[in-house]
Amino acid sequence: MTTTITRGLETTGLAKSFGGVHAVDNATVAFHHGKVNALIGPNGSGKTTFFNCVTGMIKPDAGSVSYRGEDITGRPPHRIARAGIGRSFQLCRVFPRMTVLENLLASVRSPTLPGWLRSARQRGDIERARELLMRVGIDHLEHAEARDLSYGQQKLLELAGVLMTDPETIMLDEPAGGVNPALLDRIANLVRALNAEGKTFLIVEHNMDLVMSLSDHVVVFDRGAPIAEGSPDEVRADPRVLEAYLGS
């Protein structure tokens, strides 16, 4: 059905329970590297927990996560970020009392200890940040505090912030949530353009129109594990998917 050319993000037997609830239950998934992958499923099917296990925010109980053939299970989030996986958060998270520009500069690190004390406002970094802000279309707001931005603008800011770390793989948790149609278009176009430049996407989303129009590969979750995967058309026709969504 599918051929994975490059090994990208993969999980094997990933599991995480909260008390008696098996949020993620023996999930084995291989996402297609270089493509736009979507992760869909009913509410409570474990998508966000899966997301958090992959990005290191939660330590899985069992199983493993690997990225490009390297085991990254249980690594702290900043090291997973450094491995090339960027992520956004459900409901959008920015640094509210920092300016738009500072939101982007905050992720710039120096590898050496003396470099820590270099000014955060290096010309090169600022130029890069401005380019990204221009790309998402909020460059005119660079001196505004992030908390003063509209929700849609904050979503764009979050995306620009993720891009600032120059990730190879970008995981977006509900990018369409609470966003107006015009902005949704802008986000979808950004995803397409970035994918064309070689970025892999993994998108958790409930908006089926967006999922179907945007993604190359869809993985359907139910009760903490994938129940189906394939192209949008294949998934749409799969009876197991319909059952999971419409309930039994």
Partner: protein
Amino acid sequence: MHSVSDPRPGRGRTAVRTARVVGLVALVALVAAFPSLAPDSFILSVGVVIASYAVLATSWNFVGGFTGYISLGHAAYSGLGGYATALLILRADVNPWLALALGGLIVAALAVPIGIASLRVRGASFVIVSIALVLILLLVFQSWGSFTGGSNGLRVPRPFGDDVLRPEQHERFFYLHAALLAVLLLCWWAIDRSRFGMGLKAIREDEDKAQSLGVPTFAYKLVVFVVSAFFTAIGGGMYALWFGYLDPIFQFSILVGSYMVLMSLLGGIRSLFGPLLGAVIVGYAMEFFKAQYGDTQAHLIAMGALLALVVLFMPDGIIPALGNLVNRFRPKAASIRELTAEELTVQREQQEVRG
């Protein structure tokens, strides 16, 4: 090392910069002149106390201001710094100034495991852990009388000879504290503008988010925590050398830690000079209330009322509140720019809807 400053409208920016330089020069001049302006030895000693508070509050603000981790137990480090300095002089016959530096380094070394243990928890849990440490140290230093002097206290030999009289002592220690404070402010300023500082502020805003963007949050927190403990210990040691007497009940007191927090919050933890301003106000108010009501607990009630007022009306502290006030009277260039920016968004949004 090029750095680009914020391109706010030129006239306003120069005015702000000039005002800052004038303010800084005035502050330095005031500090330098204070001992000769002070009418008597008592006022001079109040000046030393306030300078000491300013040192402690500014040291606290390395953790509190940058990371937002509110430690109520920073008295642990000032107390340890004081005792380390005193014990090195008394038991190992170390030169007082060397003892002060060594004391700071010992406390910094101790702060590494303490930080590793306590910085794992956030919010209220971190506050509780920080308080627990002070209470443990209080018990240890009270009980281990043979080494620490216990509840009888510990007399710290004066670093300047007996021929140096009281007012002269006060004056020297006032300048020493002021110099230490200047170093602290310089360090805080340097971190504030640095990449490290930007990462720390990201932790204050949203720690998970910062981590997901690749900020090594734990390492950052630990480094700034140790720096804060080091400076707090030097501040505590300096106080011990000046005051000449240590008692566990005062050194390891929740109240001392609370004052550091109160002063910083009052002035503004996001501002370089916030803790200093807070220390001047709280320190002066405390001495005033003590003078008014004698040795009762009334000054604590007054402090509590002050804290309540600040939290209610100036949650960000005095300096940001004043800043907002000044901005309101500034030339309107800045707000016009914001207007155009909004209009621009609307225009773009409209264009996109049409296109």
